[in-house]
Symmetry: C2
């Protein structure tokens, strides 16, 4: 499928057929992932392909049992400085990339590869869904997959044959996300449109109808969400477990 | 162009024709960007389209004058919690997303949108190049674009009409980047292949020929690079300027 068409018709898929993706399709998707740009040839990421049913069940339980995690295959994306460290040791040098730079750049490299995989999959009429709760459960995910030091699990991309055909979900108005030459401060009058688009979001196949008060309440819930705070605690524990606390010069709680 | 074909033929383009991208193409690219998945409907990113020549010159100077920054148009991607804060204020609630979670998720949302834009552009036979030095110059970039608090510039995507036709650049072997069900520790015998692929990288049109010692020396340079440390200092200054130091519970130096 044409790239622009695939991109413009993206919907996250949360219900999948009970049917495996053929191994050669998985291979092609991975070839697409690894052709993504990489920062300074560092390849600061790793992909775990999760096909083993017991591991899939574990990950689904950890991430709150959501429907997306009943897909054929999960791709778990991690920032990875472990491989860099092995390479640095072999060459007798010190790794220069550390700290916040490492956290951001590892995330960029992993996400570029992931979105290559997602767009390729959707262009083949497979369904995809990002599972962000992996980050909020990073400590447990490190344990489940016995991840080595200096790696951090970021998100999972679920891929499979779609069992639903949802409509496009809303987005903030483009003029709120895009600025020309300088950052344009949103005017107070634009806020209702933000509430309307976020408040009209839905996870099933069809838009839900909410009153203005219902939309406001929905948006409040997303902004406040207690999972943000509990996820931050867990991410800090994971960063400590994986040796990033030294990188960040602080004792993470 | 077919999505898989566009993805598999990606090369970063560092030399561009002196020709503007039509405004309607820029609009279509931005429509592609904003259709990317977003975390919890948060849209934790912003895109600055940089077309003003004076701003382009400033950004090129800040980022070390590289060739990619002679393209028609730059798209500067930022993690953005400023808009979220305005929305939270309007709704009388506290924002739940903070700290490392915010830094990672803002980076994920921005990068998903960026890679949509990049793949769409390449499928139209435009050239693209990510400019990662934006992160290493984050403090200065915040000043140049007068970015509001709680935004962080991450990278720039240069897009224009290619004036070169480079070969595909090397990547680490797929089996080094991809693991099945659990993280596979690379064996010592695999390290030479890592050195070979990274050490064979090139920035011009054709591969360069390097001796084994030349490759090792090249890889050592990338791993150690003094720009990592100076960039980390600058990023910390930027995180403080933008109010992320409170988010991260520490006084960043």
């Amino acid at each position: 499928m044409d790239a622009v068409k695939a991109i413009l018709s993206h919907r996250s898929i949360r219900s999948y057929k009970d049917k495996e993706i053929p191994a050669e399709t998985v291979d092609l998707l991975l070839r697409c992932a690894v052709r993504a740009p990489v920062t300074a040839m560092g390849h600061f990421y790793s992909i775990l392909v999760v096909r083993d049913q017991a591991k899939k069940d574990q990950l689904r339980d950890v991430c709150g049992g959501q429907g997306a995690l009943r897909s054929s295959t999960y791709f778990l994306f991690c920032a990875d400085f472990h491989r860099t460290e092995l390479l640095a040791d072999a060459l007798g040098v010190e790794r220069g990339i550390h700290g916040y730079t490492a956290l951001v750049i590892g995330t960029v490299d992993a996400t570029l590869a992931a979105q290559n995989l997602a767009i390729a999959a959707e262009s083949m009429e497979l369904g995809t869904c990002y599972v962000g709760s992996v980050l909020h459960k990073a400590f447990t995910v490190c344990e489940v997959f016995d991840l080595p030091p200096r790696t951090i699990p970021l998100f999972c991309l679920a891929v499979g044959f779609p069992n639903e055909d949802p409509e496009l979900r809303p987005r903030l108005p483009t003029e709120a996300l895009v600025h020309l030459d300088r950052y344009r401060e949103p005017a107070a009058e634009e806020i209702p449109a933000f509430i309307d688009s976020i408040g009209s979001s839905f996870a099933g196949e069809r838009p839900v109808s909410r009153s203005l008060e219902g939309k406001k309440s929905f948006v409040r819930g997303l902004i406040q969400g207690s999972w943000w705070q509990s996820g931050e605690e867990e991410l800090r524990k994971a960063l400590t477990r994986q040796g990033f606390d030294k990188e960040l010069d602080k004792e993470l709680r």
